[in-house]
């Protein structure tokens, strides 16, 4: 792609230039530095400049939101004015002092390094290169987004005609062809795009950042398999068709529904937790008295329908069959239809879908209700009854070894800072990555065995071959994320297995409950070379034989 057509990135002064200007310092000739020294100082300057942005933000927060100019103005009024501001805004003077001095130290060091013209020039050159790379990256992403948008628009239009059971007319056909043509053009442009290693590095870092953002905002990360699933259900959901997500506990069904609702439908959903004790009033509403008059109070469920917000029926399989029938009419409605409330007769236009989740049948839920066929059929006729399993289940590399790319992608984002880096040196990285992969491998094995146990009944007798039976406890992605957060918080000084012990086994110490599951988990972790030197007593699992643990560890 020609440089001229790259997106415009404003020409603002760099942080060192701004700091020098604020400090009214000029660059001055100094002793010539070697190429290696310049490289080192430029790297330090980059780190300082990027950390300074955070330090500046913290200082502003500590001052109760005052910008630098406002702070200067306040200080110029004298100490009394400063004290008065601190007291009125109820600020912590020690924190103010700490933030202020930290920022000053950043500025001092930045000024010290950049006052050498050799270093400042090298910094500006590298910054310029980064800007160019950013422009290329943004252009590439823009094309990718366009490809995606054209694809979605085309699919949506096709769905519309499928829905009404009519072939598109000549004008519509022309529009559809225009979409296909544009798609081909974008694909061609993408093929011709000059990607260099720096652009790829930036694209990858932005990928990590987006995932961090999604995890913070939606507690969900859109990996390849989830994206594909969303791509499949979205056109129907946009038409108001219902969807059912079925899966094992902790596989992320509810989070997925919530994510689709917020991210793709742009609405905060109403979540209705279904139980066997659910009452009709919780679905349709109830009569009440207000100022001596009988009124009908709509349930949260109906209110959401009226407000055009999606509803998530969590664990819909627990709903008694007689109540499920109440939903049948509604589940067949689509955008543009009108639903008549069975009690009040109010006509409510449909603008958002119903999403439901269900735990896959397990021994634990065997005694409870299963989703009746009539209800299930209505989901199938909508956006579908889709199965959601733990990420990466069943994935293998070309040699048949199990792999967990999507889980690793998410965990990498958790471990990284906002620039996409993890505070490991190149030397540590190899060892840490191996440790991380063994951990993920163990978690995957536990999830796989749990899934199989659930499907086949979860009886202990089903443990066969190298498969272990798990009845109720599993290590979910959420657990893995929490473990990663704790590892990162320890600055990776603590070994990963001791974090697993503290954050998972000790936290899930439920007076001997699921002891067998926990014992099996330990066995899996040891087989994956974690807990090689842990004392059996440290696991704190009732009935766990120290001899057995030592045997697994290869010590007896």
């Amino acid at each position: 792609m020609a440089k001229e057509s790259l997106p415009h990135i404003p020409n603002i002064p760099t942080t060192p230039e701004r700091v020098l200007r604020e400090k009214k310092t000029e660059t001055k000739e100094a002793k010539p530095l070697s190429a290696e020294q310049i490289k080192e100082q430029v790297t330090e300057l980059f780190e300082l400049s990027s950390a300074r942005a955070e330090a500046g933000k913290h200082t502003r927060e500590a001052w109760g939101g005052l910008t630098k100019e406002e702070r200067e103005e306040l200080k110029s009024k004298g100490e009394d004015a400063v004290v008065a501001h601190i007291e009125t805004a109820r600020l912590d003077p020690e924190l103010v002092e700490f933030r202020e001095t930290t920022l000053k130290e950043y500025d001092d060091r930045i000024a010290e390094l950049s006052s050498n013209p050799q270093v400042l020039d090298a910094y500006k050159n590298r910054f310029g290169e980064l800007k160019e790379t950013l422009a290329r990256t943004v252009s590439y992403e823009h094309l990718r987004h366009e490809e995606d948008a054209v694809d979605k628009a085309e699919q949506k239009l096709r769905k519309l005609y499928e829905g009404v059971g009519r072939a598109p007319g000549p004008i519509e056909r022309k529009k559809l062809t225009a979409f296909s043509d544009r798609k081909k053009e974008v694909e061609e442009e993408l093929k011709g795009f000059e990607l260099d290693s720096k652009t790829i590095d930036m694209l990858r870092r932005r990928e990590v950042r987006r995932m961090q953002h999604d995890l913070e905002r939606y507690s969900f990360a859109e990996t390849e398999s989830r994206r594909e699933l969303i791509r499949q259900v979205l056109p129907d959901l946009l038409q108001g068709a219902p969807v059912l997500f079925q899966g094992e506990t902790g596989s992320g069904k509810s989070q997925l529904a919530k994510y689709i609702s917020e991210r793709y439908l742009g609405k905060t959903p109403t979540i209705v937790s279904v139980s066997e004790q659910i009452k009709e009033s919780q679905i349709m509403g109830s009569r009440g008295l207000e100022a001596g008059q009988t009124v009908f109070n709509y349930s949260e469920f109906v209110k959401a329908q009226k407000e055009g917000r999606p509803v998530i029926l969590d664990e819909v399989n627990l709903m008694p069959h007689e109540f499920a029938g109440l939903l049948h009419d509604l589940l067949q409605k689509r955008v543009g239809d009108v639903w008549v409330h069975p009690v009040t007769g109010e006509k409510i236009p449909i603008t958002a879908p119903i999403m439901a989740t269900a735990n896959l049948k397990s021994e634990r839920y065997k005694q409870r209700y299963e989703l009746d066929v009539a209800t299930l059929r209505r989901f199938i006729g909508g956006a579908g009854a889709r199965e959601i399993h733990y990420l990466d289940i069943g994935k293998k590399d070309t040699e048949g070894n199990p792999i967990a790319p999507e889980t690793l992608q998410i965990l990498s984002a958790v471990l990284a800072d906002r620039h996409g880096d993890i505070e490991w040196s190149e030397k540590e990285a190899m060892e840490k990555v191996e440790e991380l992969k063994r951990f993920v491998q163990a978690c995957r094995k536990i999830q796989e065995d749990f899934t199989l146990s659930i499907r086949e009944g979860g009886e202990e007798s089903l443990a066969r071959g190298d498969r272990l039976a798990f009845k109720e406890l599993v290590i979910t992605l959420k657990d893995q994320i929490e473990i990663m957060k704790a590892w990162k918080a320890s600055s990776f000084r603590e070994p990963l297995d001791s974090i697993v012990l503290r954050e998972f086994f000790h936290k899930a110490e439920i007076s001997g409950r699921a002891a067998k599951d926990r014992e099996n988990m330990i066995k899996v972790f040891i087989a994956n070379k974690l807990f090689q030197n842990t004392n059996p007593e440290d696991f704190k699992i009732q009935g766990l034989s120290p001899k057995a643990v030592r045997q697994w560890q290869g010590k007896e």
Partner: protein, 267 residues
């Protein structure tokens, strides 16, 4: 230097983004394979090699600077003899060397002895331990202090033609997959598979340090060359990550894969 998080999982999606250079190389290789390029035999003058490789030629003069000792006339004669033997055995031609230069190879003379750290010190064999003693350029690690490989010396004078950085397609591959990649590389370059090999840890350390000392440039700054030698625990040793904190030595099980772990073909 922090570690890029995406390197943990990028091996699973190798085709997601490709550099234009990678694509060009892939196309060129496919083309070369189709045309069945074979080396054209012609005489090869020793000085021509220097000319072809330029900065990437670490010959007698450079090695003397690196090791701190002058090569005797007999050693120089052996060096020349060994070079001609290599050219003959491997059918090296001007064209094939030019191609290797383009692909990022260097030619390095390896010798078996180093001058001591101080002038008064005795000469010592080239081992990882001695290189570490002479050059304070190693990362601070002690795990390999008592490993056998750290004391293994270079066998004597010989030439290496070695890729300075990893073969791209060998990254994120396990040890056995890399072996297959080396064989395939030999085939596409029209060289007998027996002449294409991995280096030993001592050779990798020697080559990296020699290049840095005489050219003031770091190779394998972020990547690791996986060697043919196993540590006492049965893992294969890798050397690299030569950032500002020093040269690293690590080891990994043969089924391990990592985005910065690959192989530099050596012949």
């Amino acid at each position: 230097m922090p570690f890029e998080a995406y390197k943990i999982y990028q091996e699973y999606e190798p085709d997601k983004y490709k550099t234009s250079t990678q694509e060009k190389v892939a196309k060129a290789l496919a083309g070369a394979k189709k045309e069945g390029l074979t080396p054209v035999k012609e005489s090869l003058d020793f000085s021509e090699v220097q000319e072809i490789f330029g900065q990437d030629f670490i010959g007698i003069k450079e090695v003397e600077q690196f090791t701190g000792r002058s090569l005797t006339l007999e050693e120089q004669r052996i060096a020349e003899e060994k070079w001609h033997k290599k050219v003959e055995e491997q059918g090296l031609t001007k064209e094939s060397l030019e191609r290797l230069k383009q692909e990022g190879f260097m030619v390095v003379l390896r010798v078996g002895k180093l001058a001591g750290k101080e002038k008064k010190d005795k000469e010592m064999p080239v081992t990882i331990k001695n290189l570490r003693q002479k050059f304070p350029l190693f990362y601070d690690q002690d795990w390999y202090d008592n490993e056998q490989f750290a004391g293994e010396a270079l066998s004597g004078i010989d030439w290496g033609i070695v890729k300075k950085e990893l073969l791209d397609e060998s990254k994120s591959k396990n040890w056995d997959e890399q072996q297959e990649i080396l064989k395939a590389w030999a085939d596409t370059h029209g060289v007998d598979q027996k002449f294409v090999r991995r280096r030993t840890p001592t050779e990798v350390a020697y080559d990296i340090l020699a290049y840095f000392q005489v050219r003031n440039e770091r190779i394998l700054e972020k990547d690791w060359d996986w060697t043919s030698v196993q540590s006492s625990g049965g893992r294969f040793v890798c050397v690299g990550g030569f950032g500002s904190d020093g040269l690293g030595v690590a080891h990994g099980t043969r089924d391990f894969r990592f985005s910065t772990l690959g192989v530099c073909p050596a012949r």
